[in-house]
Amino acid sequence: MPSSTAVDLHGDSSLQVEISDAVSERDKVKFTVQTKSCLPHFAQTEFSVVRQHEEFIWLHDAYVENEEYAGLIIPPAPPRPDFEASREKLQKLGEGDSSITREEFAKMKQELEAEYLAIFKKTVAMHEVFLQRLAAHPTLRRDHNFFVFLEYGQDLSVRGKNRKELLGGFLRNIVKSADEALITGMSGLKEVDDFFEHERTFLLEYHTRIRDACLRADRVMHSHKCLADDYIPISAALSSLGTQEVNQLKTSFLKLAELFERLRKLEGRMASDEDLKLSDMLRYYMRDSQAAKDLLYRRLRALADYENANKALDKARTRNREVRTAESHQQLCCQRFERLSDSAKQELMDFKSRRVSSFRKNLIELAELELKHAKASTLLLRNTLVALKGEP
């Protein structure tokens, strides 16, 4: 199972979560979430439940809305499983184009099925990584909703909340634009800490650029895939030509047909490796950097609250009215802000080390795979050349 990002599970095996099975039905995917744990909270040491995508989203949102975790980076929610494009392509193929040979059809079908399978594997990996990050985090792993998610055998009936979620989402976006104003410094809020000032400027730019890079990496992967697919009709036409020829070109064409078929597989593998090691990694850190930005928003909001509380206290003191209430409110805000700042600092440093080690691992693997494929292609091409040149 490809784990696209570095989730450090070393050192703490007291809670192990994985998606042991997944089934794709008409319009939904059912994930089997398996937990192995010696924690006293659970009734058994090993157990499984079946969850759907909406339940993951419910869990994610529960974390986001929880004040206790305001100072933490909440692992980004996994994206919704999307087989639409792949399914459409398979359907189009089925509707038939009479000009292609049976062989071509079989190959194209094979390609599309492999694509479908790859998307499926990816969505499983994304959902798994989400849970594994939660399980690895010392604070987040102790959440009550998390335990419910892992253990509760029945349906969590969160699907009815979709409509509410949609509305909630709308409101959340309005709040978000206010946050954007905060974070981009338009609100006039004074940042007191150099570390956070740096992080703010850094994350704003970084997030935009990684999003760009991710989109463009996707396009490269898509072109590569198209290229690989182009070899199918080329190989088929060469095969037909070879079969029809009566002269020395017969073997040349047939060998060439075989070459393109094998090159196609190599190109296809290269495209999917680039997808996994580059596109997926960029996408993950795009989401993770957004989660980090969200943390900064929350801290700035806390700072804004603190500043407002200060102003209110001053006002109360001048008027000499309700000073006690103002004082205790101000103290609360101060404590909250400081708590958030401390935890945010740690989280942001973890984010950096996580990011660096993940990029390192994926870039090394990418380069190694590119080399492997290029060498295999070269060998294949050279062998064909030797065979072709050796003929009369």
Binding site: V220, S223, P233, V246, L363, A374, S377, T384
Partner: protein, 460 residues
Amino acid sequence: MMTEKIFLQIINSLRAEATEEVSLDSPEREPILSSEPSPAVTPVTPTTLIAPRIESKSLSAPVIFDRSREEIEEEANGDVFDIEIGVSDPEKVGDGMNAYMAYRVTTKTSLSMFSKSEFSVKRRFSDFLGLHSKLASKYLHVGYIVPPAPEKSIVGMTKVKVGKEDSSSTEFVEKRRAALERYLQRTVKHPTLLQDPDLRQFLESSELPRAVNTQALSGAGILRMVNKAADAVNKMTIKMNESDAWFEEKQQQFENLDQQLRKLHASVEALVCHRKELSANTAAFAKSAAMLGNSEDHTALSRALSQLAEVEEKIDQLHQEQAFADFYMFSELLSDYIRLIAAVKGVFDHRMKCWQKWEDAQITLLKKRETEAKMMVANKPDKIQQAKNEIREWEAKVQQGERDFEQISKTIRKEVGRFEKERVKDFKTVIIKYLESLVQTQQQLIKYWEAFLPEAKAIA
């Protein structure tokens, strides 16, 4: 002061020479040679006419038509032709809608029928069409496979005329230049066509009368289209008794080949298109990777990302070069052969027309004999004499018809044999060249990624 004046004089005289060469259009110029095709050369075995010059020249082969040692040795035994053509230096002449591209046609040869061993002239596209038109009118109907000229393109040429200096018009000009070169190379490889005086004039003469019948929208052009259509209708009504299975077999073979080549060509065009897209997308990604590297605040990772951006930029170049090879080697070879096979089919059609003519002559002869018999019964002596004269006339025509038919059949057999040999050589050469280009690309990729790997490992 003095030296400057002399210097300027030299420059001016050089400039005058250059314009001389290029102004093929000046209305004051008298046509020195007629624009009509010169009489066809009776085909003679090439070796008697072509003797290598005393000084042997080492010839540099143009890209596609490389000749290996084996080929040269083979040539020494059979057909000897030692001639290489290059088409280069496209130059825009004139302005606006009357502008045109002039190409330099360089010939390098050791054949004695040419007055020099290396020479060049300036030709425009319509000159090439004119050449083809002359050769086709002389040799096609007697069974020779005359290589077709590159296609006209009103859209492509208009862009060039109105002065659009973008990459699509430079691409168009380069595509055309390469096609013209391949066209001439194929034409001179034909032993019979090589001896044609019109071809020699095309290669050698500094001035050529303007070929006017080839204008895209001219009256002659439209007439030709109409004739082609009429021909197509006629073909459908000719029911030939094929006595020779070889011809039927070959026609079927060429029909199948045509279909398959068209399919392959369409697929290769898609490949070229996608590779160009891949190149553009890789370039865009390289830029965004560089930007990402700039914002990354971890030094080693930032450096690695910049290196990644550089690698991707180089890979973009690679893809562009490979797309170039995909097109000029693979795709253009296929489209050339699709048009060549059309010429082959044309030659088979001429044979059918020839048979029809013979057949018609036989029918007419029969009618004349019937007339003679009728006249004898009706006892009209002067009519009988007339009938006998006509019979003799038509007997001669029948004999000629049979001779023509046998001749064209013989020529076609030989031509098809030569064509197939050339086709095998052509395809084999190009396939090998194309695969070598693919190997080159892969080797470069290996180089780039091997250089990048330590950079990635250096992230700490």
